[in-house]
Symmetry: C2
Subunit: 336 residues, 2 copies
Amino acid sequence: MTIKEIAAMCGVSRGTVDRVLNHRGRVKPETERAVRAALEQAGYTKNIAGRALTVSRLAPRIGVVLCCLDNPFFDEVLKGIAQAEEELQDWGVHVELRLLRGYDAAAQRAAMDELRACAAMVIQPINAPEIRDGIADLAEQGVPVITLNTDLADSQRALYVGADYYRGGLTAGGMVNLCCESGARLGIVAGARAILGHAQRLQGFLDALDRRHQILARMDGEDEPACIYAGVRSMLKRHGDINALFVAAAGCASACQAVLDMGMAGKIKAFGFDLVPENAAMMRRGVIQALICQQPRRQGHDAIRAAWQLLLNESAAQENILMETSICILQNMTDA
Amino acid sequence: MTIKEIAAMCGVSRGTVDRVLNHRGRVKPETERAVRAALEQAGYTKNIAGRALTVSRLAPRIGVVLCCLDNPFFDEVLKGIAQAEEELQDWGVHVELRLLRGYDAAAQRAAMDELRACAAMVIQPINAPEIRDGIADLAEQGVPVITLNTDLADSQRALYVGADYYRGGLTAGGMVNLCCESGARLGIVAGARAILGHAQRLQGFLDALDRRHQILARMDGEDEPACIYAGVRSMLKRHGDINALFVAAAGCASACQAVLDMGMAGKIKAFGFDLVPENAAMMRRGVIQALICQQPRRQGHDAIRAAWQLLLNESAAQENILMETSICILQNMTDA
DNA sequence: TTGTATGCGTTATCAT
DNA sequence: ATGATAACGCATACAA
């Protein structure tokens, strides 16, 4: 079914059908009704190839707003974005990046506003009212917004691309079950309370853990390398019999450094998240046994592709894209 | 750069440039040379959106030939193919399947010949001269051939989509290192000698294995459930102190069944490949500790998408697509 | 051997 | 308020 055929069915011109389809107004109500009926009855959907040809001429920009500076995890996300951009440049698509430092909602909102002329937007949202409002505004303008890595569930975002944090925690717990036959005596670095993902990881971890393990110590509320380093040192000093560490926060390598500096390498098995270079190094040195990974490359890549998909097919509501929860050990490390 | 612009550059018509581009002949040699020079100099590549519009009207078929019946691994591959087909049907693409039983080169060649009118072909090739020839014929006709799951390296195939078997073996070895702290006493089911992937897995496994483990027994040349079951039974009877099994072949669940039937559950940790339903069940029962997976869904999906990519961009030589080597344990099982 | 005309489906523009 | 027409880039049938 094409616009042409619909037009013929109704005895109107393509232009009229186009005005109805794209809500341009200037159509007599009864004509509009007739056209809508025909569209409905014929089950019309835009031809995606024709649309791609047109869209490519518009050179649409996909805006990307990330709080990623000084965060090695996002180096990988950016690689995925760059790869998707390369794939899509043949389709006339461009990516415009706004990379921020830290978590400042006002700054993020400002970046969003700067990019409001984009055709679609990918954002790692801060949980704040102005961001929620910004997303709503964009959605109303017809600009689809995709949340990346962090969701903002009760917002007008089109879909979420990212990890399943709870399952990540579960999987980490499963690895402890497998790797600590004789029972783990655990120290836990729980991560920042404010970061929902960290809390979900911890919950999953605890849910997966076998009875035979015990938790000797737990540190809360930290997501800073220096704090984690100091915290783990004192934790190990107080509990000399700890033989496993679970780090839900981002600074697993700092925790490992504390282990090394206290001469406890080989006695403690560490489990953490994300194959960033520091963690890879600690895995090579034998401190980290396994990392649970959330496929940062693919997150970036898939978010951009999903944006393009929405540009081509404005109507089709897409589902969330959850990364597989992958386990990385020494032998299947590929990059970093 | 468009055909139109190239034509203008050379002072010829679009039609002439088209004839040069698509090797239709009927062009004066010196004209052709001039056009080629212009194409080269301008770095012309076909506009992908324009090409997609044209290609979609041709309703191209992608032929798929798999030796997959009675092989649960391929049920997942087929799901990936079906998903890709759904994504691409908007682009006018259709998939035509030829599903064979067993490994009969003549039958496979016949299926290929049946599909020779396709625009592109995806095949899980048997290592035989007639298949190699068939691929060469298709390539000569301009039909790109993609090898799926099994490669046929010195053939005219455009690219390979599948697993890195050696790394899969390495990773399995790594899991044994992690899960058998006190040293594994291994029984190995090496798989069929004729299947290159099995041999590569075994090599990787042995390369990764720590010194502290020992190999007590090894079964060669089997890829049949019944043989594996019987073989593992007798292996366990001879070596009562085996505490770990590595199964490179497809029938890991049969090996586990032997373990269960001999009342040795809980004493033996099994490691195998592929999250097929039988293996999932054995993982839930605690016999299998970890499975190394080669992402069958994605294999099917990516092969079809790669085929489409080649249809759009005939010239661009694509690189092989290797699956990530993923580790599946109880907690990160998603399907099956 | 070469050029011209037309079509694909969507969108933008310019008349009416 | 509506229709006619041109444009995107590729492909092809047909005319010269």
